[in-house]
């Protein structure tokens, strides 16, 4: 009897300990998973043939049908690290890569990018921290601009440079932060419009602070709509999930725009697609 009592009080003790540490344990586990991911998957990967997706879904007839549909329109895929920043990273990589071959689009984008900082400062973001991210972002943009529309050889070398920068945490994360700020700026500027997209009682500003500006927060439709509007860039997202049918559904942001960036969405993650 004494034994019973002591062991049950031991259990109770454990339960109390667990509830105290639950949060911390979950976070610790999450950090370990993040670490494992960051050690195995590059921030932005090399170009792969779309057939690599087929291998991934070898024993999954639903997805195989969809990969087949996808391969009728796209030939290559470039994977990004699933760290919650994948939309921003995939978008900026694909768009800058496109700008290398489209000088007039670059000129249009350059004006928008150049003015973006003032919009953020006017909204009350701290000037010197915004500048810090802006400068790194513009450094990469200008590098693209110098070579945009150049010869195939010079494009190859600048592509390699871009790839290298996107895999350097310093540059890559700074670009992500800046695009998060631009997205937040757009949401806050067009406050009335975007409020309709936000579920629950949160204001646009609260939403920005909790779901847009912090790193590693995943992107939803609203992020894509806001960023594509802010930069005036067409984005096509192909949604591949367990939904019915053999077709992979596409969404264009902003609606009716000409897509320059093509992304593949699988639940919780974005990669880049190439025709």
């Amino acid at each position: 009897m004494a034994d019973d009592a002591s062991s049950s009080s031991g259990c109770a003790g454990n339960i109390i300990d667990n509830s105290i540490n639950q949060d911390e344990l979950i976070m610790k586990q999450q950090r370990e998973i993040e670490k494992e991911i960051s050690e195995t998957i590059p921030l932005v990967g090399e170009l792969e043939a779309l057939s690599s997706l087929e291998k991934e879904y070898n024993e999954d007839p639903v997805y195989l049908l969809k990969v087949k549909d996808l391969s009728s329109k796209y030939k290559y895929i470039r994977r990004t690290r699933p760290d919650g920043n994948c939309f921003f990273r995939a978008f900026s990589y694909a768009y800058l890569e496109h700008l290398l071959t489209d000088k007039s689009e670059f000129d249009k984008f350059y004006e928008i990018a150049k003015n973006s900082k003032e919009i953020l400062v006017a909204l009350g973001f701290s000037q010197f921290t915004v500048e810090d991210f802006y400068e790194t972002f513009m450094e990469v943009v200008q590098r693209v601009g110098e070579q945009a529309g150049g010869s195939p050889e010079s494009l190859d070398s600048v592509r390699a440079e871009l790839h290298d920068k996107f895999n350097k945490q310093g540059y890559s994360d700074y670009i992500v932060v800046y695009l998060r700020l631009v997205t937040s700026g757009q949401l806050q500027t067009e406050n009335d419009f975007y409020q309709n997209f936000i579920e629950g009682p949160r204001t646009v500003t609260e939403f920005c602070r909790q779901e847009v500006e912090p790193m590693y927060k995943e992107s939803d439709h609203i992020h894509i709509i806001a960023l594509s509007n802010a930069l005036n860039v067409g984005v096509r997202v192909k949604y591949m999930d367990r939904g019915e049918g053999s077709q992979v559904i596409a969404h264009d942001f902003p609606e009716g725009s000409k897509p320059l960036v093509h992304l593949l969405y699988r639940p919780g993650h974005y990669d880049i697609l190439y025709a």
Binding site: A2, A5, G124, S126, F128, D132, T205, E213, M215, Y216
Partner: protein, 250 residues
């Protein structure tokens, strides 16, 4: 500053950013001041004035700021050194949006944001949050008075560190951010978080309440077990004492 640029890779975004912040915060203000240690850009010491109209009015509080090597992607840790009655001293506390995980730190926040938020957060109720203290107003006022003569082994008398210049006014954006920020200590008996400060010169004496707690838990367990055992023996003996008599009665 020149020394720092020689010692660190200024291409590293964290270094570039911290040097900018050091410049931004170079002038001490009435409300706060902060600067990196001479030999370590990733550890700063700060001083803040107790917010006016609160129990901390007239107090001056000093502490350390530890920057993770991933800064500004990951948040700084703050350690208060001057006893204040609101936060435990020598304990790492971290800022995040109230009710959210520390991942809600934003890279566009800065050391100034952290200090302003700390000042704004001091008068809020402790509510049993880890790292928080719930001293009475009288005790806090006593500590506020004492704090003025507190001396930091590295920075000297802290009362000399603040100036009479008013800090840059708080913008509307900052105001709305400050209202949302909360400070909380981390659980300490679990493994250390990966984002350790890039360089920590001295081992920290961190107050760890957890081991004491688990010791108390164990003690209680043993006592409960002993008590239950004693009751068991008592019943057994009573029962034994009665049983033979009832048998003889039959």
């Amino acid at each position: 500053m020149a020394e720092i640029s020689e010692k660190y890779n200024t291409k590293c975004p964290g270094v570039k950013r911290l040097m900018r912040e050091a410049m931004e915060l170079a002038e001490a203000t009435e409300e706060y001041c902060a600067r990196p240690l001479e030999d370590n850009l990733f550890e700063w010491h700060f001083t803040v004035q107790g917010p006016k109209g609160t129990d901390f009015e007239g107090g001056i509080y000093h502490g350390r700021i530890l920057l993770p090597k991933e800064y500004p992607m990951h948040p700084p840790h703050i350690i208060l050194l001057t006893p204040n009655g609101r936060f435990e001293v020598n304990k790492k506390i971290c800022l995040s949006i109230s009710g959210h995980h520390p991942e809600t730190w934003q890279p566009s926040w800065s050391i100034r944001t952290a200090l302003l938020a700390l000042i704004a957060f001091m008068p809020t109720p402790a509510e049993g949050t880890i790292g928080s203290l719930d001293y009475s107003p009288a005790e806090r006022k006593v500590l506020a008075k004492k704090s003025v003569s507190w001396v930091c082994s590295q920075c000297g008398e802290i009362s000399a560190l603040l100036s009479s210049t008013a800090a840059k006014p708080i913008t509307d954006e900052e105001k709305s951010v400050l209202n949302q920020i909360a400070f909380k200590a981390e659980e300490e008996q679990t493994a250390k978080p990966p984002e350790e400060p890039a360089h920590e010169p001295e081992p920290q004496v961190l107050e760890s309440s957890e081991p004491t707690n688990s010791f108390l838990d164990q003690l209680t367990e043993v006592l409960v077990a002993l008590l239950v055992g004693a009751i068991g023996i008592f019943i057994y003996r009573r029962w034994n004492a009665h049983y033979p008599t009832s048998e003889t009665e039959l």
